[in-house]
């Protein structure tokens, strides 16, 4: 079928606002960042073109140690997929069955998402505080004094301690997405399965979860890209320390861009992050498609 010109113009007009915003605010700066990543630039003088030297340094420099930052980000992404998402799914499944106080629980579980990172960060700093923090006080009360730690300051525990709040904060977010998906499962399907003698667990396993796969895909993409880009809470809790053990790509990027005035290198990290996130988004899409 041959499309009239008017139809094409209409398509363009419908896309125009979104395209305009998207290209002007997101794409143009990223193209610029890509150019800057090929330069040695402190942000103020004229950029000097140096080819891929920044990338070479990024992946070889021992002091930047990008591999550690990437390892941390991947670990967070993994934990998010194997702890946060399953727990959110469990909550969502539980709450989608008849249960008392459902509405209240749903609202409360979402609250951490609504609260500003400043509050969440300060709260967990207080929880982890070695002297008066809730965690150590609790351990002492249980006579587990030997378990007490300088949680965020100890190289062994800092990474785990910094990850817990990140994983915790967004459980509600994923739960609500999944809950919504579950509510969209046609009741005929679940009821029929129940009549056939399936236990609730079996209904979840064989009917509900396969049905909400599109939602799970979105959740997984958010969880992984969010983990790779995570910054706010790490910045408040440890700012990459102690001795850089909790460094993630974003903290390195900020330090290059705005602390060390190495705009070229900071841009290189940004480009790397974008490529990684996009790669994973495509990968997840492919995996979900294949299983179908």
């Amino acid at each position: 079928m041959k499309k009239p010109l008017l139809y094409k113009i209409n398509i363009f007009l419908f896309l125009l606002p979104a395209l305009f915003l998207f290209i002007a605010v997101l794409i143009a700066p990223i193209v610029l960042s890509f150019y800057y990543s090929l330069t040695e630039w402190n942000g103020f003088t004229t950029p000097e073109f140096i080819g891929i030297k920044n990338y070479v340094e990024l992946f070889t420099s021992r002091s930047i140690n990008i591999s550690r930052a990437l390892k941390n980000a991947f670990l967070l992404a993994l934990l998010s997929c194997v702890i946060q998402l399953p727990f959110a799914l469990w909550l969502a499944l539980r709450l989608s069955r008849p249960i008392k106080g459902k509405t209240a629980l749903l609202s409360i579980y979402f609250m951490p998402v609504l609260i500003s990172t400043v509050v969440i960060g300060q709260l967990w700093l207080k929880i982890y505080n070695p002297d008066y923090g809730v965690l150590n006080v609790l351990l002492r009360a249980l006579h587990l004094d030997s378990w007490t730690r300088v949680w965020l300051g100890d190289k062994k525990t800092a990474l785990g301690a910094a990850f817990v709040p990140i994983l915790w904060q967004y459980v509600g977010y994923h739960m609500l997405l999944m809950y919504a998906g579950i509510k969209g499962v046609p009741t005929e399907l679940t009821e029929a399965a129940m009549l056939d003698g399936c236990t609730p667990a079996q209904v979840s396993r064989y009917i509900v979860i396969p049905y909400i796969r599109p939602i799970l895909r979105v959740s997984v993409i958010f969880a992984i890209t969010g983990s790779l880009k995570s910054f706010d809470l790490i910045y408040v809790l440890t700012n990459g320390g102690p001795s850089h053990v909790t460094e993630v790509p974003s903290t390195l990027m900020i330090s290059m861009l705005f602390l060390r005035n190495r705009y070229g290198m900071g841009s290189a990290i940004a480009v790397m992050l974008i490529v990684l996130c996009f790669f994973f988004a495509l990968l997840i899409n492919a995996i979900f498609k294949e299983e179908k």
């Binding site: 402190n42 103020f44 300088v150 949680w151 300051g153 320390g241 102690p242 001795s243 850089h244 705005f258």
Partner: protein, 415 residues
Amino acid sequence: MKKLLSIALALVMVFALAAPMAYADDQVVLTLWSIATESDSSHQAFVDAIAAFEESHPGVKIEHVTTENEAYKTKIKAAMSSGEGLPDIFFTWGMGFLGEFVNAGRVASVEDAYAAYQDELPENMTVNVRYGEDNKMYGVPYTMSLITLYANMDILAEVGYEDIPATYEDMMACCDKLVAAGYIPFGVAGKEKWCLSEYVEPLVIKSVGAQNLRDMYNGVTSWNTDGVIKAIEAFQSMIDKGYFDPSANALSNDEVKNNFIQGKTAFYQNGSWNNKDIGEQAKFTVKAGTFPVLNDEVPLLSLIGGPNNTLAVTESSANKDLAIEAAFYLARYMSDADYKSGANLPCWAADPDADVNELIQAAADMASQAADLVLFGDNFLSADAANTYLDYIEMAWAEEVTPAEYVEGLDAELH
């Protein structure tokens, strides 16, 4: 919902599209960017200074834009980077921070105007704002800070000291007694690297002397000297002997300072900008002093610090001369006001009869008698080097590097 939305949208149009406030034609408006947020101890002084300037310069108005410290660094760098929307006058730190803006040609020289103020602003207070081969002046400093050793004299008295120990050996003996008595000698925020440098730099300068340290920062001499190694050894032995708060790595400077004020640590070594808080809030006798020397050939009053809070003028300012005049005027006013309020030490000649609190008086005495002053390392060095330097200090603190590796690393990576 729809109605609400359209009303809100209409509101937005009215508000957001309104042009920046228009002033009468004959009025000149200067913009000033600073970090003196409303809760900052210098805020009132800025407000007063601006009011005084406006009164003495009819037809001139200063618009004061304040941004929180960390956010300010991002903001000024973004503006300097694009060269657009810059203020006329901006707050800055001396040496490295201002230096990169000067190199980019964004900052106006105040050299010519300085001649008129030479009597009140001594030349040695301007060393940190001079750049280039012709050593021109690019900023007007107003307050200076010194690393100060604050001591809780009530705790020291309990272990038998009536004054801050004057020799290194005595200092260590005092710390041993403090530890034995169940006190934490030093409070430090391991989380904030600059706080670690407040302990390391005095040790280094009191081991190698001011000129050597300055040469090391400038890359003229090697860090690899017995003096620096000795200082780092001293630092690490203090860590090993448990002189520092074992929770340090989890604490922010706010918490550490609060611990000192609560009497949880015997000493707190940090900048003289803490004088006001400590003086007002501590309920015990506080003394402000300096760490003893590690090397008898170095004068005791070789101090870390110097003029750092500075006002500078942008090259792009439409009223450059007026802005420069305002920068000097405000700086002179701020220097005096911050001194009198006890917030910090003045760069400009101070009123000798001013009635100031004891701590600031002690710091001012130290400054006036100082044998030599070297600026904080992270201010002295350029941004990239400064952060590498702080990383090494943190590695020394975590004992990931030996003193020998520390000096070799700095030699290899700083320049």
